[in-house]
Structures are given as C-alpha cells and as structure tokens.
C-alpha cells in the first residue's frame, strides 16, 4: 500500500519536470548535438557518454542517429559493447533514433559485414531500407500513445522494423504499414529523427518514461 502510494506521488511530482533526470547521449558520432539540445530544452541534465564510468552515472541513454556501422565499430574499439549490453539487460531506459534503433535491435537485416548490434530490443531491423539519400523523405506521422497530434518525421537513409518479437509494441507505421517506431518496456526505438525537426514531444514522452523508471527503482529500494 505505502509502496503504491509512493510510486503514485513520485510520478505526479515529475510530470513535466525533468530536472532531476540525468540523461546520457552516446557521443561517438552522429547528431549528438541535436539530441542534447532537445533534452536540455526539456530541462534534463545531459551527459555525453563515451566511457563506462559515464554510462554508469546516467538514468537513461539516448543513442543518436549517425552511421550504425561506425557507431558499432567505435563502441567495440573503445570497450563499450559489454557495458552497454549489461546496462540494457539491467533495465536502463534507452531511446534510439535511426542508427540508434539499429544498435538496439536483436537482429540487423542487410548489415555491413561483421556489423554487430547491442541487442535487447526484440526486433529485426533492416538497415537503410528505403534506398539512397534521394529516397530520404519527411512526412507527418501519427504516434498514438506518445502524442495526440502527428509528429513531423524526417527519415534519412532510414531503417525499418521488419519483425517484432514478444513484448514489443508497435507505436507508429507508415501509410503502407511499414513499422517505424516500437517500444518494449523502457526501450524506445524509432526510424526517424525528431531531434532534427526540433520537435520535443517524442523526447518528452521518453523522459516521462525515464521518470517512471527512476521512481519505480526508488520505490523498490
């Protein structure tokens, strides 16, 4: 009873206030700055993460857009693959956009030779599913459960989710049915880049989830 009460009040207090959250942004390569900008605008504390001790200090992690094969190489070269896999396994909330979604997927379709993902999100993701840059596009997308109004979505040589496994909820699809946003527990993966549009709503949704995870952890102590 007291635990439920504590949980309930905690989530009331944090609604719309993210100052107590420490959010890491994986900062090896990609549109790190755009994510930091949106997160800071929402009031979160932001830490660039490139080392295990930086990862250990955060309440959640954002994996930015970039080139997934390069992110993978750098993550391994600098000894971050294991710490990241352990953090995801232990329930760290993670939000990945584009290359970030690919990094979170259990399986990559059409990967570059020897490319590995971190895994954890039970989906198959096809890398660069639309073609070359000429096929990159922007469109407004419905994201039920995340935000009421459509979100402007920019797809840059973007991936799509080809198969969803157990416990994965589909958040958004293109008009042709292709899956471009999924959620599994505290893992959120999307094909496009709300950060380059400067739209804060998807990040705001994620921070809300992080706040929930933080208060759950506190409640369980």
């Amino acid at each position: 009873m007291s635990q439920t009460f504590l949980h309930h009040t905690a989530s009331l207090i944090v609604a719309g206030n993210f100052h107590h959250l420490r959010i890491g942004v994986l900062a090896f390569q990609g549109d790190v700055r755009e994510h930091i900008h949106v997160l800071e605008e929402l009031g979160a504390q932001v830490v660039k993460v490139r080392r295990p001790d930086e990862l250990a200090s955060v309440d959640a992690l954002v994996i930015p857009g970039g080139e997934s094969s390069v992110l993978d190489k750098l993550v391994r070269l600098f000894g971050m693959q294991q710490p990241l896999r352990e953090a995801i396994a232990s329930g760290l909330p993670v939000f990945g956009t584009c290359a970030g979604l690919i990094m979170m997927a259990d399986h990559i379709v059409d990967a570059i030779s020897e490319q590995e993902s971190l895994g954890g999100l039970h989906v198959d993701v096809r890398r660069n599913a639309f073609g070359t840059q000429i096929d990159s596009f922007e469109v407004d997308l419905e994201m039920p459960g995340v935000t009421a109004e459509p979100v402007p979505a920019t797809f840059i040589r973007a991936p799509i989710v080809e198969r969803v496994g157990e416990g994965v909820r589909v958040i958004s699809q293109l008009d042709d049915g292709r899956i471009v946003a999924v959620e599994q527990g505290y893992l959120l993966g999307i094909s496009f880049h709300p950060e380059v549009n400067g739209d804060t709503r998807v990040h705001e949704y994620f921070l809300g989830r992080v706040a929930q995870s933080v208060s759950e952890k506190k409640a369980s102590i």
Partner: protein, 300 residues
C-alpha cells in the same frame, strides 16, 4: 500543429541537411576503386568520396580534372553500404545531373577538380541530392549556403598533407562568425555587404552564432592528430583525401583517424592512435606551391 502532411516529401532542405547532420563526428575518405572503398568502410569511414585520382595525383599529373567515370562510381556504390559521395566541377551542373542520376548520396562541388564556370556555382536548390561546397571564409560559406549547399567544407589545400591551410580556413570562418555575432542589428547591413552574402542569411547566422549547416574540414589532413585538431577547432567532421591511401599503411591509418575523431578531446587516445602507423604521405609544403596552383583560390 498544422494539418497532417500525408505525402512524403523528398529532397527538402531538412532532408538534405538531415543527412549532413548524421555524418557529424565522422571521417569521409577519398577512394579511387572498390578495394579502397572496402578498406575505408572496414576502417569506420562515415562515407566515401568516389573519384578517379586523389588530389595529390591530380596535382602531380596536372591537366583538366573532371567528374569520375560512372562505371567507377557505380563500382564503388556496389562495394559499400555507407553513403557514397562524388565530385562535380564548380559550376558544372550537368556533371551534377549525372551524379544525381547515379543516385550518389552527396555531391561535392569541388575546387579540387578544374572549374567549369569562373562566375557561377551550381544552383543546388534545383537538386534533390544534397551538396557540400568548399569555403575559405564566412562570406564564401554563406554564398554557397544561399545557393543550396547542405554542408560546408572548409577548404584547406587539397593534396598537400600540409594542414596549415585547413587550420587557417576554419579559424577564419569561426572568427568571422564570432565577429558577426558581436554586431548590433544596425551593423548587419554593412556586414552583409562586406561578406558579399544575402542580408537575411547574415541576420540568421548572426543570431545563431553558427552556420545553419554542418561544417567539415578538408585539405591536408594526414594524421590522427590533424583530425583531432580540426575537431577541437570546431569542425563537425573531416574529409581525408590523399592522406590515407598515399600513406604507408592505409587501413591502419584510416582506423586511427576514425578513432581520433571520436575522442578528439582526449590526448591519451590520440597518443594511442598515433603509434605505429608507418609513413604518412610525403606531402608538399603549401608555401612551396606557387599561388596560381593553389586549389583553395578556386571558388567565388
């Protein structure tokens, strides 16, 4: 929120600049064949620039340098999955049309090739493919952005392995950005005149304190320390042309430069990446190149 836009929009400014944003922190490598492209991809290149001769050879061999053969570009596109860029001559909009038709991911309107127009650059708004253009100063950068460039590349002096010009150009652009930000509103009219750049763009950049597109650095980057210095000076990423495949051990050097770019602010990492790379490209001191042969002066 306006009403929902259901029709996917390609080739928009946001889509073009969006790709440039995703390349940040990365190393773009010049390659002349599929084998080099694979080495670059394996080493962690963020993209490859497909061309027939690296700038050092263009410089050595002389003659008119043009767009690469479509077969060569397609061979490189088939060999790698990372973005493929290719160069068109300054002002040569038909070379750009050819590259767009080949579905390259980015076109570099480059001073490394022989200019095709000594007055006009390409109207880059006419294309769905994003363009990167060189600049040696802020005015030049703003003129290229006004023409539709989605990325700026500070020029340096290509094919030399001498980083001094790259340093000069990025410092110049950044110092002019600081100068512009410090001006009062009524001084921006004259600033636009001096920069020979459109007033609206000058106002936008003065307010933001930075360019509206990513700025990479090119021209003479040959070592991990060179790349790290460019990033510490504020570049969003680097182009490495002759520096990799004109060196003793291209694969090792390429990988080292990628690592140095990711940890550009950590001297310990730069130490490790600088070890045992074999010979760097021999290089030419820019001061030994007579002024008419300097590539950075191409662009208007």
């Amino acid at each position: 929120m306006t009403e929902k836009n259901n029709a996917p929009l390609t080739g928009s400014n946001r889509v073009k600049r969006g790709l440039a944003e995703q390349l940040k922190g990365g190393v773009i490598m010049d390659v002349v064949n599929a084998e080099q492209a694979r080495i670059a991809e394996d080493a962690g290149a963020i993209a490859v620039m497909a061309l027939e001769r690296v700038p050092a050879d263009i410089r050595a061999q002389g003659g008119v340098a043009r767009m690469s053969d479509p077969d060569l570009i397609e061979g490189i596109q088939a060999a790698v999955k990372i973005p493929v860029m290719a160069k068109a001559r300054i002002g040569h909009f038909v070379e750009a049309q050819v590259l767009a038709e080949l579905n390259v991911d980015f076109i570099d309107e480059s001073e490394v090739l022989s200019p095709a127009d000594y007055i006009n650059h390409i109207d880059k708004w006419a294309f769905d493919v994003p363009f990167v253009c060189g600049a040696t100063n802020l005015g030049e950068a703003l003129r290229r952005i006004n023409e539709g460039a989605a990325m700026i590349r500070s020029k340096g002096e290509a094919g030399t392995g001498d980083v001094s010009e790259a340093t000069k150009h990025i410092r110049k652009i950044n110092s002019e950005l600081r100068w512009l930000s410090s001006m009062s509103k009524d001084e921006l009219y004259v600033a636009a005149k001096e920069l020979q750049a459109p007033y609206d763009l000058v106002v936008e950049v003065a307010a933001a304190g930075k360019l509206p597109v990513p700025m990479f650095t090119a021209g003479g980057v040959a070592t991990p320390a060179d790349a790290a210095m460019m990033l510490q000076l504020g570049a969003d990423g680097v182009f490495v042309g002759s520096g990799i495949f004109k060196s003793g051990e291209p694969a090792a050097r390429a990988k080292a430069i990628v690592k140095a770019a990711a940890f550009f602010d950590d001297p310990q990492v730069i130490v490790e990446t600088s070890r045992g790379l074999g010979e760097a490209m021999v290089g030419i001191n820019v001061s030994d190149i007579p002024a008419p042969h300097r590539l950075a002066d191409r662009g208007w």
